[in-house]
């Protein structure tokens, strides 16, 4: 998405680097997908500053391009620490690190090494490792087996779009970029939907859910829970939902219904 790349770059370029991208994917009542029955409730922790997104590429000789994937001990450590602390704070029990260290032994190997070191500090959280391709194979068979997952940048990008697809698409998927010194930026990860501009047809759920993540981060859990309850109930009833999920309501009508439910 155009907006989110700029936002991410802005966060990264500040001193307080946005080092962990948090993308929860939870099945939404009222939005039926082939995976609604077993239910999806997982969170992806994606390293947000390096890896394949270092932007370091060069043409060695005409027709041969080299693209550099950078993995550092520090960045790997940061996202691992965040992942385990998040799991502890949110009562999540399992973390799996996704990687391709069988092929990228040094880079993904270093990432895993940091995950293992941090895991040792959280004995109450079960930690294991899985090849990224195995994870792709398994999650589409049974997503209910996945809880918190931590991984480098590119894998996180790809895999979180996959998990968003499991729950009904990017229109429903929130995310947060966590920086040092407490900086946090929350954003929807879908595109700008230029074809829907000024028609009030856009689905604000992803941005709304991102805002709720922000409220929780700020310690306003009660407010977040109340709003979330209203959102989920509105989606479940399907009377005032937007076109992308099969309804006919406009964006303001959807929001109004949520407000009605909050006022109760």
């Amino acid at each position: 998405a155009v907006v989110s790349t700029q936002v991410r770059e802005a966060v990264v370029s500040t001193q307080s680097t946005g080092y962990a991208n948090v993308r929860p994917a939870k099945s939404v009542p009222g939005v039926i997908t082939p995976y609604s029955a077993e239910g999806v409730d997982c969170v992806i922790m994606r390293e947000n500053t390096e890896g394949e997104y270092s932007g370091i590429e060069h043409t060695v000789v005409p027709g041969v391009v080299q693209s550099v994937k950078l993995i550092t001990r520090e960045a790997s450590r940061n996202v691992a620490e965040y992942a385990f602390q998040y799991a502890k704070d949110h009562g999540r029990k399992n973390i799996v690190a996704l990687h391709k260290a069988n092929i990228m032994k040094m880079s993904d190997g270093m990432f895993l090494e940091q995950c293992r070191e941090v895991a040792a500090k959280y004995p109450e959280i079960s930690y294991r490792e899985m090849y990224l391709d195995s994870a792709c194979l398994k999650i589409v068979s049974d997503p209910s087996k996945f809880d918190v997952m931590v991984m480098p940048n590119l894998y996180g990008d790809i895999f979180s779009d996959l998990t968003a697809g499991l729950i009904g698409g990017l229109g429903l998927a929130p995310s947060g970029n966590m920086g040092k010194d407490g900086i946090a930026i929350y954003e929807a990860v879908h595109g700008t939907a230029d074809d829907l501009v000024e028609q009030n047809k856009g689905n604000p759920t992803a941005l709304l859910m991102s805002a709720l993540m922000m409220l929780r981060h700020m310690g306003l859990k009660t407010h977040a829970d109340k709003i979330e309850g209203a959102v989920l109930e509105t989606l479940k009833e399907r009377k005032f939902v937007t076109g992308d999920i099969g309804g006919t309501a406009t964006n303001p009508e959807y929001a109004a219904e949520i407000c009605r439910k909050i006022k109760g």
Binding site: E52, E57, V65, V68, L137, D161, A164
Partner: protein, 363 residues
């Protein structure tokens, strides 16, 4: 006895797209192919194939090369396997678990032999309960460069650089392979999967090559799609995909994802091609080390790979009847291994295939 189906088909010129009819090692009327069972459950799956081929009396001789962790400590063993494949030109393979040292044996196989095109067709089975139906896509993956170049170094302590290499030569080659394959198999659309919005030069080059080649195939629709969107689309609407062409890592992820959509690693075969070589192996390459020796793995993928190998050797009758037998057993759903929700062993699945072959013979 199932001897009647061993007569080689007389049709010629049906070799896979990029392999010319290379001379095959033949001795006494039988073709010799290399068989590398690999590690983990590999040997059990290979046993399934050798049992069936023996019963069918196909004119194929296996040159069996064991490459488990112990053997790999001897460098000569691996080099011998490469020589064997070069000599025979055709191989059936399991996954080699990486040895303790830093050699990437599976990657080296493909690099050394230049087996550059990995083709995984994922087709829904009626008899397997999955989240989606009606899938029939072909994932074509460039298998010799990209992220699997295995060029890594620690430039300063705590900072590792891993190089992804994309070349015009190999990108053009895989693109041409994909379009030729699509044309040969009457497929309508080729989608290039990439991440050129981020990796502008490397994936940008790959994408540009695909576009360039597409212009020579006006009858085939050409599209481009960003890989993260592809993964999302695969779980929302996988039926939209036809042929997909992509660099190494995305190929790995997409073929595994798609295999998961149609029933898993136990049922999806694959074919890999180089200029003068073809290697057949399960589409999702996993050793399943923890189940080694327990005979719980589903041999379907390996047996189907063997059947496709027979077709490659122009033994179409034998190949086709074996594919038919395996599909019937899977679709009937009575004999099911663990991955398909049952509890049958590898050998019970094999016996079911053989019984089905007998039944087809009596029809």
């Amino acid at each position: 006895m199932l001897r009647h189906i061993t007569k080689p088909a007389l049709s010629v010129g049906r070799a896979a797209v990029s392999t010319a009819a290379a001379p095959r090692t033949k001795y006494g009327g039988k073709t010799t192919v290399t068989l590398i069972p690999g590690d983990g459950v590999g040997p059990e799956l290979a046993e399934s194939v050798t049992t069936i081929f023996k019963e069918m009396a196909v004119p194929v001789e296996f040159e069996m090369i064991d490459l488990n962790r112990e053997q790999l400590k001897d460098e000569g063993a691996f080099d011998y396997a490469i020589k064997s494949l070069k000599r025979n030109g055709v191989g059936l393979k399991g996954v080699i678990n990486r040895s303790a040292d830093f050699r990437h044996h599976n990657v080296e196989f493909r690099g050394n032999l230049d087996v550059y095109a990995n083709v995984v067709r994922c087709m829904s089975f009626e008899g397997i309960k999955t989240h989606h139906t009606g899938i029939d896509l072909i994932a074509i993956r460039e298998n010799t460069e990209g992220e699997y170049s295995c060029l890594e170094h620690e430039s300063v302590p705590g900072v590792v650089e891993s190089l992804k290499i994309i070349t015009r030569e190999k990108s053009m080659r895989i693109a041409k392979f994909a379009f030729d394959y699509a044309r040969e198999h009457n497929r309508k659309k080729v989608t290039c999967i990439h991440k050129a919005n981020i990796m502008k030069q490397s994936d940008g080059l790959f994408k540009a090559c695909c576009k360039e080649v597409s212009e020579d195939y006006p009858m085939i629709k050409y599209e481009e799609q960003i890989v993260d969107n592809t993964c999302q689309q695969l779980v929302i609407n996988p039926q939209q995909f036809d042929v997909m062409v992509m660099p190494n890592l995305y190929g790995n992820l997409v073929s595994n994802l798609a295999a998961g959509l149609v029933g898993g690693a136990g049922v999806v075969p694959s074919k890999s091609y180089g200029e003068n070589i073809a290697v057949f192996e399960p589409g999702a390459r996993h050793t399943w080390m923890e189940m080694k020796g327990m005979y719980v793995a589903n041999p379907s993928a390996m047996v189907l790979s063997g059947a496709f190998m027979l077709k490659h050797l122009q033994l179409h009758e034998a190949g086709d009847v074996l594919i038919k037998a395996v599909k019937r057993v899977i679709n009937r759903g009575e004999v099911r291994s663990r991955d398909l929700g049952g509890s049958c062993t590898t050998r019970e699945m094999t016996r079911a295939f053989l019984a089905e072959l007998d039944a087809i013979h009596s029809e």
